[in-house]
C-alpha cells in the first residue's frame, strides 16, 4: 500500500516536471505575447491623461514619463524554485500518506497537530495571493484606502478566537455538519450544511483558480489552461494522498515562505528610508509622481489638488473606497464570515485540545497581522520607489507592485539579486495558491464524503477503510470539478466571488453555528431556515447587485462617449476628421451601444435592484432572523433537552475523547 503510494507520488512529480520542461520551448513566444498584452492597455490611457493635464493648468506642467516597464521573471531560476517547492511538498505528501489510515487522519490529521503548527497553518490557509499581491497593489495606487481595507481581515479573527475556535474544538469532529447535527435531526441538517459548505468552497475556489491561472500566465508565461491544470493536479495530489496532514504542512511551508519574503522586502524598503518611518512617509508626500497621480484621481471628482496637498491626500481615506455602506457591509461579512468559513473551522479539529485551538488562533493573529502591517510598507514602498504610473504600466490593478518592487530593490544590490528575489516571490505566490486551494478542496470533500455519503447515505455505518476511500474519491472528484470550473471561468468576472464566499459564510453558516452552541431552544428548523435563507439571500442579492453586467448601463456609458465624440467632431473645421484614437473610440462605443441597448442582465434587469456590491448588511440579519423564526415556529423538545450536553461539552471539553476516537 505504502509502496504503491510512493510510486504514485513519484510518477506525479516526474510527469509534472516533464510537462513543465517539455512545454519550455513553446513558452518563449507566449511570454512576449502576454507581456505585450499586459502593457498594451496602458497605451491609450497615457495620452488621454496627458491631454487631460494639458487642459488643467493646476496639474504640474510635465508629468515625468517613466520609462516603459515590464515584468519578466528569469525563467530558469523561477522554474527551478517552483521545482524545489513542488519537490519538498511532494515529499511531505509521501510522508503524510503513510500516516493517513483512518478518517480522523484524513480529515483532522488524527488530532495530532500542535497549537503552534496549526497557527501557522491557519495563516497559510487564510492569506491568499489576493491579499499578498492585491492589497499591496491597492495601497501602491490608492494609499490609505488599501491599508484600511486590510484591517478587517485581521479583526475577523477576534470572532474566531472568542466565539467559535474552542467550542468547535470541544463539540465538533470533522465538519460543520458535525457541530450542527449534534442535537438536531442529523440527515436534513447534514445535507444543508454540506450544500452550504460546498457553495462557499466553490465560490472561493473558483476565484482562487482563475487568479492562479492568470497569475501564472503573467509571471512565468505558462498558458492559462496549462497553469490551471498544473495547479489542479498538484492540489488534487496533496489532498487525495496526504489528506489533512499534507495540506497542513503545505500551508505551514507556504506561510513561512510568505513571511520571509514579506519581511525581507520590507527591510529593503525601510533601509531606503534610513529605517525612519516618519521620513518614509515624508518621501511619499513629497514624491512628485505620487502628487501627480493623486491630482488626476481627485480630478475625476472635480477637485483640484496639487503639490504637497496632493501628496498628503494619498495618506487620507476616500481615493478608492467611495461607498461607506458597502465598506461596512464588507466589514460585516469579514468579521462574521471568517468564523463561518468551513476550511477555517476545519482547522480546529486538527488540534488535540481547546487550549491548543486557542493558542493556534493567537499565533495566526500575530502572523496575519504582521503580514498586513508589512503589506502596507510594501504598498507604500512600491508607490515611492516605482511610482504609481510605473506600476500601472505593468498591471492596471497594481497586482504586480510587490513583485516589481522585489525585482528593483534586489537589482539595486546586484542584478542577480533582482532575478533571484523576483523568482523567490513568484514561487511564494505559487505556494500560496497551492496551500489555499488544497484547504478548500479538503473542506468541500469532507462535507460531501463525511456528511452526505457516510452519515446520510450510509447512516454512519462505514468502516475506516471505506470512509478513507470515500474521502479520497470525493477529493479527486471535487478537485477535477475545480479544474473544470477554472478552465471555463477564464473570461468570467470572478472579482466578487471572494466577497460572496464570505457573505454566504457570514449569513448562512455563522448564525447557525453560534445559535447551536449558545441557544437552548435552537433546533432542526432553525438550522435549515438559517442556512437556506442566509445562503439564498447572499447569492440572490449579489445576482441583482452592481457586480453583474447591466447592458443598458453599458449602453448608457457608450452613449455618453458617442455624444462627446460627436460634439468634438462638430467643433472640428469642416472636412477634418477625428484623430485615429478618437475615431476608434467612437466606433467601439457605437458597436457597444448597438450590442447592449436592448439587453438585460442575467436576471433580466435593466439596472441593479440592490445598490451595494456586498450583501452582508442585509443577508446576515436575514440569516439570523430565519434561524430564530424557524426555531420558534417549530419548537423541539429533544433539542432543548440536549442543550445541556452540547453546552457542557463546548465549555469544558468533557466527553471530547469520544469525538476523536469515533
Amino acid at each position: 500500500m505504502t509502496f504503491k503510494k510512493i510510486i504514485i507520488a513519484a510518477t506525479l512529480t516526474l510527469s509534472i516536471a516533464a510537462a513543465a520542461f517539455a512545454a519550455e520551448p513553446t513558452k518563449a513566444p507566449v511570454v512576449t505575447d502576454s507581456a505585450a498584452a499586459v502593457t498594451a492597455p496602458t497605451a491609450p490611457v497615457a495620452p488621454a491623461i496627458s491631454a487631460q493635464s494639458a487642459t488643467t493648468q493646476a496639474v504640474a506642467a510635465t508629468p515625468a514619463q517613466p520609462k516603459k516597464r515590464e515584468l519578466k521573471a528569469n525563467k530558469v531560476i523561477t522554474l527551478s524554485m517552483f521545482a524545489i517547492i513542488i519537490g519538498i511538498t511532494l515529499a511531505v505528501v509521501v510522508w503524510a500518506a503513510r500516516q493517513t489510515k483512518s478518517a480522523a487522519d484524513f480529515y483532522a490529521a488524527g488530532g495530532g497537530i500542535t497549537g503552534t503548527q496549526n497557527g501557522w497553518a491557519i495563516a497559510g490557509d487564510y492569506m491568499s495571493a489576493a491579499s499578498f499581491l492585491g492589497i499591496s497593489g491597492l495601497i501602491s495606487l490608492y494609499g490609505y484606502d488599501g491599508f484600511m481595507y486590510s484591517v478587517g481581515w485581521l479583526v475577523a479573527y477576534i470572532t474566531v478566537l472568542l466565539i467559535v475556535a474552542e467550542p468547535c474544538r470541544n463539540a465538533g469532529k470533522y465538519t460543520l455538519g458535525d457541530i450542527l447535527s449534534f442535537r438536531t435531526n442529523p440527515k436534513p441538517v447534514r445535507a444543508v450544511a454540506a450544500i452550504s459548505t460546498v457553495a462557499v468552497s466553490t465560490f472561493y475556489l473558483t476565484a482562487q483558480m482563475v487568479g492562479a491561472g492568470k497569475l501564472m500566465a503573467l509571471l512565468v508565461g505558462v498558458p492559462y489552461k496549462t497553469a490551471i491544470v498544473g495547479v489542479g493536479i498538484l492540489m488534487v495530489g496533496y489532498v487525495v494522498f496526504g489528506g489533512m496532514t499534507a495540506t497542513t504542512w503545505v500551508q505551514i511551508i507556504k506561510a513561512g515562505l510568505l513571511m520571509s519574503g514579506a519581511t525581507l522586502l520590507s527591510i529593503l524598503v525601510l533601509a531606503k528610508a534610513g529605517f525612519n518611518p516618519v521620513y518614509f512617509f515624508q518621501t511619499i508626500v513629497n514624491s512628485p509622481e505620487i502628487q501627480d497621480h493623486v491630482s488626476k484621481l481627485v480630478l475625476k471628482d472635480g477637485i483640484t489638488l496639487t503639490g504637497i496637498d496632493a501628496g498628503q491626500r494619498f495618506l487620507e481615506p476616500g481615493l478608492f473606497l467611495k461607498n461607506p455602506l458597502d465598506q461596512i457591509s464588507l466589514g460585516m461579512a469579514l468579521v462574521l464570515g471568517t468564523a463561518g468559513m468551513p476550511h477555517i473551522l476545519m482547522r480546529f479539529f486538527t488540534v488535540p485540545t481547546a487550549q491548543a485551538a486557542r493558542k493556534s488562533v493567537i499565533i495566526a493573529m500575530f502572523i496575519i497581522g504582521a503580514f498586513y502591517v508589512l503589506t502596507t510598507l510594501l504598498g507604500f514602498g512600491a508607490a515611492v520607489n516605482l511610482t504609481p504610473q510605473g506600476i500601472m504600466q505593468v498591471d492596471k490593478g497594481g497586482n504586480m507592485a510587490t513583485l516589481i518592487l522585489a525585482q528593483q530593490l534586489g537589482a539595486d544590490i546586484a542584478p542577480i539579486f533582482g532575478d533571484l528575489f523576483l523568482a523567490f516571490l513568484c514561487s511564494v505566490a505559487f505556494a500560496t495558491i497551492l496551500a489555499v486551494v488544497s484547504g478548500l478542496v479538503l473542506a468541500a470533500s469532507a462535507a460531501i464524503a463525511h456528511d452526505i455519503y457516510v452519515n446520510v447515505i450510509k447512516d454512519g455505518h462505514a468502516d475506516q477503510h471505506e470512509q478513507v476511500m470515500a474521502a479520497r474519491i470525493t477529493s479527486l472528484v471535487v478537485g477535477v470539478v475545480g479544474i473544470v470550473i477554472g478552465l471555463m471561468a477564464e473570461k468570467a468576472n470572478v472579482a466578487h466571488l471572494v466577497a460572496l464566499a464570505f457573505a454566504v459564510a457570514a449569513s448562512g453558516n455563522l448564525p447557525v453555528v453560534v445559535l447551536s452552541l449558545f441557544w437552548r431552544k435552537f433546533n432542526t428548523a432553525g438550522v435549515i431556515g438559517g442556512i437556506v435563507v442566509g445562503t439564498v439571500a447572499s447569492i440572490g442579492l449579489v445576482m441583482v447587485s452592481p457586480n453583474m453586467t447591466y447592458p443598458k448601463v453599458v449602453a448608457a456609458g457608450a452613449q455618453k462617449v458617442i455624444t462627446a465624440m460627436e460634439a468634438k467632431q462638430a467643433l472640428l473645421p469642416a472636412g477634418a476628421q477625428l484623430d485615429e484614437l478618437d475615431a476608434k473610440a467612437l466606433t467601439t462605443a457605437k458597436s457597444d451601444y448597438e450590442k447592449n441597448k436592448e439587453g438585460t442582465s442575467m436576471m433580466g434587469l435593466d439596472k441593479p435592484l440592490f445598490k451595494l456590491k456586498n450583501p452582508g448588511i442585509l443577508s446576515i440579519p436575514l440569516g439570523f432572523l430565519a434561524a430564530i423564526f424557524g426555531t420558534l415556529l417549530f419548537p423541539n423538545k429533544r433539542s432543548e433537552e440536549m442543550f445541556d450536553e452540547i453546552y457542557v461539552r463546548q465549555n469544558t471539553g468533557i466527553g471530547m475523547a469520544k469525538a476523536i476516537d469515533h
Binding site: 487620507e316 473606497l321 468579521v335 493573529m365 450536553e645 453546552y647
Partner: protein, 103 residues
Amino acid sequence: MAEKQYDWASIAQNPKFIELTHKKTAFLFGWWIFSTAYYFLLPIGAAYAPGLFKIKMLGVINFGYLFALSQFFVSWGLALYYAHVANKDFDRLTRELIEELHL
C-alpha cells in the same frame, strides 16, 4: 464502543460550571462587542469624519493612519489578554470542575 455516560443535566447545574459559563459569557461577548464596535469606527470615521482623519500627528503621519494601525495592536492586545484570562481563570475553573466530578 463502550462509552462513558455523563449526566449532562447535573453537570450543567453544578455551581462551578455555572460560575465558569457566567464568567466566560460576560468576557467573550463583552469584548467581542467592544472589538467589533472599535473596528466599525474605522470605515464609519473615514466616511463621516474625514476632518478628524486628516489631522497630522507625527510629521506627515495623520490620525487616520495611526487609528488604522491601532486596530492591529488592539486586536493583538485583546488576543493576549484573552489568553491570559483563559489560562488563569477559565482553564482553572474547568480543571476544578472536572476534579470535583471525578471524571
